[in-house]
Subunit: 386 residues, 4 copies
C-alpha cells in the first residue's frame, strides 16, 4: 500500500549537527575520551563537515558559547564554508559558572540575572558575526528542594530576562526557547514543559518560538502530539533530536524507539513543517561510548529513513480510512509505510546526487578517523567542561 | 518557626464535592456495591449534605449530565438548599453512548460532533435552571492506535466545537476545560496536558479556564508548578482533587502523597488562588472499596489540614531565606510548617464555628449509614453507567 | 547484513489466543459492543479458529473460568478440535465476586482464602477434563491505601494458598504465576514484579513458572532483560503479549513499540525459548474499539514479523562485534535485521504451507464477519462481566 | 490514636553516613565547589564525625575505594575512633577507569573482568585492615544500545565474577549487591532490579545480601513492598537512603516524599529489620547545591522523625482494623501516627542522652563550618573524580 516518494520530496531534508557532539561527553560518573577528539571549534567543524560530505544531509553546525568562543568569528565562518558547511544556531550556556549555582535568568540576585542577559547579548553579537539567525536558549535553571525559591517569582524574572534578550534581536533573528522536564535541577525546572515555552514565546512575540527536545519529556509523553499542536499554533521553531529510554539519555536518534521517530516525522510532514526552514531539525546527542563521527552519520541516516517512510504513506487512503473510522485499516496504512525497507530507495537517491551510496562504509574507509587520531595529539580534548 | 494562621484565613476554605462520588464506581475488572448507595440525584445530594453538615467545608455539589438528569431541576435545586447545600458545577458526559466510540467534539463525523455540542447546550440550560456558573468539560476523546485519526484535524474540530459551546454561555457563566494524560484513550488524548487546555481557553476568551485534575499527569510531573503557572497566566479555573500512585487512580486526596498536596496548596495560596471563588476546589474521587461518605469527609479534612499547614508557613522568613539562596533554611521553613500537627488548631476552629470537633466520629455515631442501608432497598444503585 | 532464516525455523512459531479477546471489553468508562460478538464459549472458539485458519499460527485457545464455564467440557474440547484448534491454558478468576473485594488468596479472612483455593482446584479439574497442561494465575489482589492491610502478612497468605494449589497439580501440569505492577489495586499489588513471581515459584517447585505480561511493568522497564533473566533462571513459563503506551492498555501487540517486540523476541530466541513448548506465547488483549477477529489476525502476524526479523540477525557477526566492543557495528547488525521487510518472505512461507498469502485480506473477503453479525442475534454478548 | 514509643525503642536507630557526601558532587553539567570541602579521607571522616556528635545517630562512615585509598588504613581507623566514629561499609568502584568503558565484572574481555575482581579483593583486604564487615558492590555495568552486548552472556559473567569475590570473603564478612534501574547505562543495566540482586545473592549464599537504594527504581515503584519482601526472604542487607523526584536524584532523604520514607520505615519495623545490625541504614546522597554537613544532619534527623512516627503507630488497633477490612480506619491509624509532630519527643530523647536538643542550631553555632573554610586552603577538594 505504501507509495514511492519523489526524489524531490526526499531531497528537502536538512539536519543541523551540533559542534559539542564531536567533543567528549559523559555522565556524572565518568567522561571517557577517544583518540582524535577535537581540541577547538575549528576541529569540531572539520569533523562535522565529514558528516555532510558523506550524507549530503547536514549542511550546518550549531555552536555553543562559551564552548565555541573564538577570537575571530569571521575566520570560523570561512573555515566552515571552505569545508562545505555553515555555522548554524548559536546556543547560550548559563550553567557552568559559580554565579549560576542557583539560576541564571531566574536567579534571586539581579546582578546574576543581568550577567545572564548580557551573555545572551554576546551570543546575539556572535550571531551577527557569523550570519546566524537563531539563538537557542536552554536554561539549567530550577531548584532541588521545595521552598528553595519561589516558583512564581522565578517565572516573573524569567519573563523579564527573556524580554530583555528578545528586544536585542534583529528583525530577521529568532529566539528559540527550549523546555526540559528535569536535570540538572531535581525538584522543579523553570521551563519544564511545552506549555511554559509556549506561554513565554507568545508573550515575547512572533520572533520567539519553542524548541522541542525529544528527550526532555515525562515518561510516556506523546511527543508527536506536541509536534502537531505546536505546528498548529505556529510556534514550533526547532527540534533537538536524540533517543532516550529513561531520562535525557541523549542517545543516537532512532535507536531507542524508531517507531516514535517515524510518528514524530509523520506529524512534522502532516503539519507542513517538513522542508520549512523555520522548523529546524537539529541533532543534540552525546556519544559517550561510541565513535562520534560515525555516530553522527548513523543519526542523520536514521532521520532520513524515518522521513522516507513517512513520505511513503498513502495519505489519501489514510484520510479515507480515518473518515470511515476504520481503526485497523488506518493503522495498517501507517504501519505499511513503516514496515517498508526504504534503504534501497535512499541509496538510489544518493547515487543520483553524487553521494556515496553507503555513507557509513564510505566514511570508515576514508581513513579520516585514523588521520585525526594521529594528528590530534597534545592539547585538551573538547568536552562540556571547556 | 511555623506561625499560627488566623481563624478568618482558615475559614475561607470551600470544597465542592461531586455527586458521582456517592454512587458506585470501580475498575474495568469489577464495580463493587455497598448497602445504602443512592439510587438517584436526590439521594446523592442528601449524602453530600452530610459531608457539609459534619465539616462545614463542602457547601456545593457538582452534578454530571446525564447521570444526574432529573425532570425538575428547580426541585433538585430546592432539595439541595433544604439540606444546606447548593448545586455546583455541571459536568458534561460524552463518553457513554455508542455514537461516541471514536470521539465526540473531535469525531470525524459532523453529525456526532453536532450531537456533542448539543449535549453541552443542554448542560448550559441546566446551569441556568439550577443557578450554576460553571460548565466543566472533560472529554474521553482520543485514539488507541497511531494513524487511527489525524491528531491535527481533531484539534481543529475541537476548537470549532468549543467555540460553539462558548458562544452559548451567558456573560456570567464559565467554560472549564479539563486535560488528561491518558485513559480511556490509550495512544493519544485530544486534551492531554495543561498546554493544550491553556491554548484552547486563550483562544476562546476570558470566560474559559483550565481545570487541573491532580491525577491526570505523566509520572513525575511537578503539579504545583502548573498551579503556579496557570495562576500567573490567569487561567486556573478549578481543581479536581484526588490521589494517585500510578495513573488516574482517583483515590482519596492526600493519602498517596500528602506532601505533594501541601505543595500544591502552597502554590495556590502563594499565587492568590486560595479563597478566590474563581478558583474552585473540587473533589473528583472514586471510593471503590471504602465507605463513600466517610471517604468524602476524610478527603475534605485532608485538604483542610494541608491548607492549615500552608497558612502556618512563616512567609517573611521564607522569602528572606530564598533571597539569600540559603537552600536548607528555606526548605526547613517550609518543612517546619508541614511537620506541624494542625489538628488541634482545626478542632478549635470547628468548635468556634459550632461544628463537631471530630467530624468523622460525629458522622459515624450519627446512625446515618445504618439508616440509608435500611431505607434504600430496591431500585438500581447509582453508578457511572447510569 | 541480514541473513535469510530457514522456513523450518520460521515454522516453529505457535501463539495461543485467548477466548476473552473475542468478547466485548472496555474501560471503566464504557464497554462498546459490536455486532456478531460471541455469546458463549463455543462461539468464542469458533472465532478463534478463524485466526488459525487464516494464519496457521494460533492452534490453541486459552479459556477463563468462570467466563468459559460450560456443562460439558468434553464437548468444548471436541468443538475446538472439530474446528482445527485445541483448548489451551486455563485462567482462573478471583476478582469478580463480592467476596473478593479485599483480596482472594491474600484476603484477611480464611474463608475467602479457602474459597479462592477451591476455585483453583475447580480449574485444575477443568484442565483434566480438557487435556490442558497450564493453570495461569493472575490475582487482582492488593490494596488501595497504605495501612489497609499488612503487605507482609498477605505475602505469607499468598505463599500458603499457592502451595495448596500447587499440591493439587498432576505431575504433568504447571502453575504459572503472573505479576502486575498495578490495577485494579492502586497502592500495592500482591504480585507486583517478576522478582515476587520468581521467589514464589522457586519456593513452590519445578512445576511453577512465571508469566510475563508485556503490559504489566513500570514505565521504562527493560522487558527483554527480564525475558533473558527468567530464561537463564529456568523460570519463564509464558508470555501474555499486548501493547501499551501508558499502563496495562492491552492494545494489539507490536503496534505501540514494534522495536521493543523485536527486542523481546530477540532475547526469547537467544535464550533458547523460541520453539520451546515450555515457554508459551499468548495474546492477552482487549479490542475495545477495533474489530476483534481482524485485530487478532493482525496481532499474530505482528509477532510473526518480529520473529522473522530476529531470525534474520547475523548472530555470528553480532557476537564478533560484541566481542570487539564495537558498539555501532553490533547495533547496526541488529538494526539491519529490524529494518528488513520480512513480509515477502512470510508470504512465501504461507504459500508453501498452503495458507493464504495475505491472511487479513483472505479473512475479510471470507464473509465470516457478515455471517456472524447476521446469525448472532439475541442472547447476551460475552464480556468480562459474564 | 498514636501511641508514645519508648526511648529505648527510639534509641536503637543507627545510620551510616558516606565519606563521599562530604566531598563535591554534581551533575554532568557542573560540579560546584564549596569552601571547606575536605581534601582527603581524614578530613571527610572529621566532617562525618560532626554529624554524629550533633545527633548521636551516625556512628559509622562508609568509604569508597579508590576515592578513600590511604597508605595506612590503621591510621584511618584510629583517626575515626579518635573522633568517636568508626569506618563502615567499603564500597568498590569499577566505573572510573578507561578499562571499564564497556563494563567491569560483565565486560566481554576476560582481562578487564579479572581486573575488576582483583579490585574487589583489594577492597576485602581493606575491610580486614579497617575491621569492616560489609563490601558493597554497585556496578555501573550495562549498555547504551540494543545489541551492543549480550544481556544473557553478561549475566553469566556477572555470576562468575561475584562468585570469585564471594569466595574471598571471611566467614564474618558480607557481600552486598546493589541494583539500579538506569544511569550511567541507558539501555540496560546488568543489575537493574531487586529480582536480579536477589537471584544472584541466593546463588552466592548466606553471606550475600541485597542493597536497596531508594532512588534506584522505575517511576511509581512501591519501594516499601520490596522492603517487606526482602525482609521476608531474609535477603535485605542494607539501604542506601536518599530522595528523588525523577531519577537517581540523590537528594536529602525525606524531602521529596516524606510519607514514602515513613511507609518504608514502617515495613522495616514491621518486618523486624529495625535495630537489626544485619539491615544497615546508610545515607547515599549528593549535596550538589546545599551545605554538606548541615545537609547530612538534616538527613539523619529526617530518618529519625520517620522512625519515631512509625514507632507511634498503634499496631494492635491497626491489626484489628486490617482484620476487619475496615479500609478507612486502618488507614486512619497509620495516618494518625504520620500526622503526629514527633519533634518535641525527640528533643526530649536527645536531652536525656546528653545531646543537643536542636542539633542543627547547635552545629551551625559551633563555628565548625567557618573554621574549615579558613583552614582548608590549597590542595584539591575531594569529589567523585578523585
Amino acid at each position: 500500500m505504501a507509495i514511492a516518494p519523489s526524489q524531490e520530496q526526499l531531497a528537502k531534508l536538512r539536519i543541523e549537527v551540533a559542534s559539542w557532539a564531536y567533543g567528549n561527553s559523559g555522565t556524572r560518573f565518568r567522561v571517557f575520551g577517544t583518540p582524535g577528539t577535537p581540541r577547538d571549534p575549528f576541529e569540531k567543524i572539520a569533523d562535522a563537515a565529514q558528516v555532510h560530505a558523506a550524507t549530503g544531509l547536514a549542511p550546518t553546525v550549531a555552536i555553543h558559547i562559551p564552548w565555541d568562543r573564538v577570537d575571530d568569528y569571521d575566520a570560523l565562518r570561512r573555515h566552515a564554508e571552505d569545508l562545505g558547511v555553515a555555522v548554524g544556531t548559536v546556543n547560550s550556556n548559563t550553567f557552568q559558572e559559580e554565579d549560576y549555582k542557583f539560576g541564571s535568568l531566574t536567579h534571586p540576585d539581579a546582578r546574576v540575572r543581568r550577567k545572564a542577559v548580557d551573555h545572551h547579548l554576546e551570543c546575539i553579537d556572535i550571531m551577527r558575526a557569523t550570519g546566524v539567525r537563531d539563538l537557542k536558549i536552554w536554561l539549567a535553571d530550577g531548584t532541588n528542594y521545595p521552598g528553595q525559591d519561589s516558583i512564581r517569582a522565578r517565572q516573573d524574572r524569567l519573563a523579564e530576562g527573556l524580554a530583555a534578550i528578545y528586544a536585542a534581536l534583529d528583525a530577521d533573528q529568532r529566539l528559540l526557547l527550549e523546555y526540559k522536564f528535569f536535570e540538572p535541577a531535581f525538584y522543579h525546572t523553570d521551563v519544564p514543559d511545552w506549555g511554559t515555552s509556549f506561554a513565554h514565546t507568545v508573550a515575547l512575540g512572533e520572533q520567539a518560538k519553542v524548541v522541542l527536545d525529544t528527550g526532555h519529556h515525562a515518561p510516556g509523553t506523546n511527543i508527536e502530539f506536541i509536534v502537531a499542536q505546536l505546528l498548529r499554533l505556529g510556534k514550533l521553531g526547532a527540534f533537538d533530536l536524540n533517543s532516550r529510554f529513561y531520562a535525557d539519555d541523549d542517545l543516537i536518534v532512532g535507536l531507542a524507539d524508531p517507531f516514535q521517530l517515524f510518528r514524530i516525522m509523520h506529524e512534522l510532514v502532516a503539519g507542513g513543517g517538513y522542508g520549512d526552514p523555520d522548523v529546524q531539525l537539529v541533532l543534540d546527542q552525546c556519544h559517550n561510548i561510541e565513535a562520534k563521527i560515525p555516530g553522527q552519520i548513523r543519526s542523520v541516516l536514521n532521520v532520513q529513513e524515518a522521513v522516507a517512510k513517512v513520505l511513503s504513506i498513502d495519505t489519501e487512503a489514510l484520510a479515507a480510512a480515518q473518515r470511515d473510522c476504520d481503526v485497523l485499516l488506518a493503522n495498517d496504512i501507517l504501519m505499511d509505510a513503516y514496515s517498508t525497507d526504504v534503504r534501497p530507495m535512499l541509496a538510489e537517491l544518493r547515487a543520483a546526487r553524487g553521494l556515496p551510496e553507503d555513507p557509513m562504509r564510505h566514511f570508515l574507509a576514508s581513513g579520516y578517523l585514523e588521520r585525526i587520531a594521529d594528528e590530534r595529539v597534545g592539547g585538551a580534548q573538547a568536552s562540556w567542561g571547556a
